[in-house]
């Protein structure tokens, strides 16, 4: 139907046009709102990353105080694949440290969810050199904030 001919005096919008326009404006508002929420999430993830950085520094410092155990990490390393989402009641230095890190992580991030990760792994750069790359993975906010830190330890024992 030729609306220009039939309705020359009706310059307004049709219902469809109006609904499309309203939808576009609505999408705009939702986008602005989402942007705001998104930026808040980024901020919270950034804060968690900073906390994870602090926790990693603490863990690395603690590892260096147990040099005699780290020396064994090429073979049987109690720190390798250590999941400090859980405590460890064994009477060993590594177990005590695991329990300590568990407590500190809980204080910083709250109790871990299933999707969260708190894991330490050791990898010797070259066999029998005593130089290890330590990887610490700390995921928080139900797995949404993912942080991986890598540090190198020279645990060579004369």
């Amino acid at each position: 139907m030729d609306r220009t001919k039939l309705n020359k005096g009706q310059l307004g919008l049709s219902l469809l046009e109006g609904m499309v326009a309203a939808a576009v404006v609505g999408i705009g508002f939702v986008a602005v709102f989402s942007l705001s929420t998104f930026s808040t999430n980024i901020l919270m993830s950034s804060i968690d990353r900073e906390k994870a950085r602090m926790l990693t520094s603490m863990i690395m410092e603690d590892l260096l105080t147990d040099q005699s155990t780290i020396n064994s990490c090429a073979n049987v390393c109690p720190y390798h694949d250590m999941d400090f989402r859980v405590t460890n009641s064994a009477d060993t230095t590594s177990a005590k440290k695991q329990t300590k890190w568990h407590g500190h992580a809980n204080k910083l991030f709250g109790a871990p969810s299933v999707a969260d990760k708190r894991l330490i792994s050791f990898e010797e750069t070259t066999a029998a050199t005593g130089v290890f790359v330590v990887t610490i993975e700390i995921n928080s906010r139900n797995g949404r904030a993912k942080n991986t830190f890598k540090r190198t330890i020279n645990a060579w024992a004369p």
Binding site: G9, V25, E50, S68, T69, T92, T93, K96, K100
Partner: protein, 488 residues
């Protein structure tokens, strides 16, 4: 109605347009409010995070340095001081001491003061955190610092954070199961004084011609003389004394000194000395290499008082208490570490074994941390037998010291001083400081329930809140490296 008069909006159209416009304006306003509220939220969260990060990093850097002593400077006894505010009040305080240089010793103190706005009342959830750095010769207590002490040598005093609701410090040692527990690094490294010293063979040195020609030696005989810190008194046991016994099947008899310790100890170093110089005359020195060749002495140096002595350490005999030992079934020799310790075992060394060959020449310091035969540094003991089973003086011929009086059956087994060093259990040294800080936002935010997270326990204090302010806490620990390495 003529058509040209119908160019305007009808009432219905106007109402619809007004309604639509109102909805759009309301939505825009709502959106702005949300964005603005988010901005304020983010600003305060950022304030909390940045304040906490800066403060915690700053405090940890100072705590790590605690106890650092510049070369040739006197040691720092209390490198970390903490004051506990208790469970009811905010906040704890900490003071650390370290050398900035050979001429500057710093005392850095962190504490909070409750903020009182002008004409207002104090807000217990708003405290200002201060940092003060002082140049000191003698340390101040935290109370003195807070009362305004150290005014003349103050280097800086600044507020470094605001809106601190709680600040807690805890000192501990996560390697140790309990305070005072037995384990590597869980005791205090220090000089060890035995609680009792006894010997069945104690003979004052008498009837030795020319003995003590310069009159320096004041007393001799008692076993306690070897532990009195005075080298001019000496323990002596005459070889002919029936109580001179052979340690561990050794070929020569020895004077046995029995020691007990009031707290369990782990020995890592023994220092002993002979005192040939008090005879008079001169010698080239008191080190082993200087004495060992028995040459270049001017009589009567070492003629009456031993140049050399041999000692053996015995522990683990029946009746002795071994609290914790190295599980040597899993490892061997000096590879025993703290991870190999197990409780309730017998000592490795029994009466049939011994630590031997502690040769004492003049002043001798023996580090026993790498002792492979006995592993005494791996044992925690409360009793120790020390045998002085060799003692040697010069026999001068034509003015030269040609050999020893080792075979002089009527001579004395003698040692002037013995000093023990090692780990004493009973009080666990603090090697880690846990810092916890709770910061609140300056402003309240919306109508959202902000009491999530309350109550929150930091250190020995539980914080509760039910206002609309944001809060976040940071808890992190730091190794006091200088103290940690001193315990190893």
């Amino acid at each position: 109605m003529p058509g040209h008069l119908k160019n305007g909006f009808s009432l219905v159209e106007m109402l619809i347009a007004l309604a639509v416009s109102s909805i759009i304006i309301a939505a825009a306003f709502g959106s702005y409010t949300i964005v603005a509220r988010n901005f304020e939220f983010q600003k305060d969260m950022k304030y909390i995070a940045q304040s906490a990060r800066a403060v915690v990093d700053m405090m940890n850097a100072d705590i790590r340095l605690a106890g650092y002593t510049a070369i040739n400077n006197t040691s720092i006894n209390d490198a970390v001081l903490m004051s506990d505010s208790g469970a009811a009040d905010c906040c704890d305080a900490i003071s650390v001491i370290y050398d900035q240089s050979q001429t500057q010793r710093r005392q850095v103190t962190y504490w909070t003061e409750q903020f009182i706005p002008g004409g207002g009342t104090a807000d217990p959830t708003r405290n200002r955190l201060y940092k003060q750095v002082c140049n000191i010769s003698n340390p101040y207590t935290i109370a003195q610092i807070q009362a305004g002490g150290c005014t003349s040598n103050i280097l800086e005093k600044n507020p470094i954070a605001d809106y601190v609701q709680d600040l807690q410090f805890s000192g501990y040692n996560s390697n140790c199961t309990e305070p005072g527990g037995v384990g590597f690094g869980c005791g205090t490294m220090q000089n060890i004084t035995p609680s009792s010293v006894s010997s069945l063979c104690q003979d004052p040195v008498t009837n030795v011609v020319g003995s003590d020609v310069d009159g320096a030696l004041t007393s001799s005989g008692l076993a306690s003389y070897a532990f009195d810190g005075n080298h001019l008194t000496s323990y002596a046991c005459k070889r002919t004394n029936p109580q001179a016994i052979r340690p561990f099947g050794a070929s020569a008899s020895g004077g046995k000194i029995s020691l007990t310790f009031s707290s369990p100890v782990r020995l890592t170093q023994i220092t002993a000395r002979t005192v040939p110089e008090i005879d008079g005359g001169t010698g080239p020195g008191l080190t082993q290499s200087e004495i060992a060749n028995f040459a270049n002495f001017v009589e009567p140096y070492g003629k009456y008082r031993p140049l050399w002595a041999e000692m053996a350490l015995g522990y683990g005999r029946p009746g002795q208490q071994c609290i914790n030992t190295c599980n040597d079934g899993a490892v061997s020799g000096n590879s025993c570490t703290n991870s190999h310790w197990t409780g309730g075992q017998q000592c490795i060394l029994q009466s049939s074994a011994r630590f031997e060959g502690l040769n004492v020449w003049g002043t001798t310091v023996r580090d026993m941390r790498n002792e492979t035969r006995g592993g005494i540094d791996k044992q925690v003991i409360t009793e120790l037998d020390i045998y002085v089973n060799g003692s040697q003086v010069c026999r001068y011929v034509s003015g030269s010291c040609v050999d020893s009086g080792y075979n002089d059956s009527s001579g004395y087994l003698e040692i002037a001083e013995i000093q023990l060093f090692g780990e004493v259990y009973g009080s666990t040294p603090i090697i880690e400081i846990e810092t916890s800080i709770l910061i609140r936002s300056p402003n309240e935010h919306g109508n959202v329930d902000r009491s999530i997270g309350s109550p929150l326990t930091l250190g020995n204090r539980t914080n509760t809140w039910n206002d609309k302010r944001l809060r976040d806490s940071y808890t992190i620990s730091t190794v006091v490296r200088n103290i940690f390495y001193a315990t190893q």
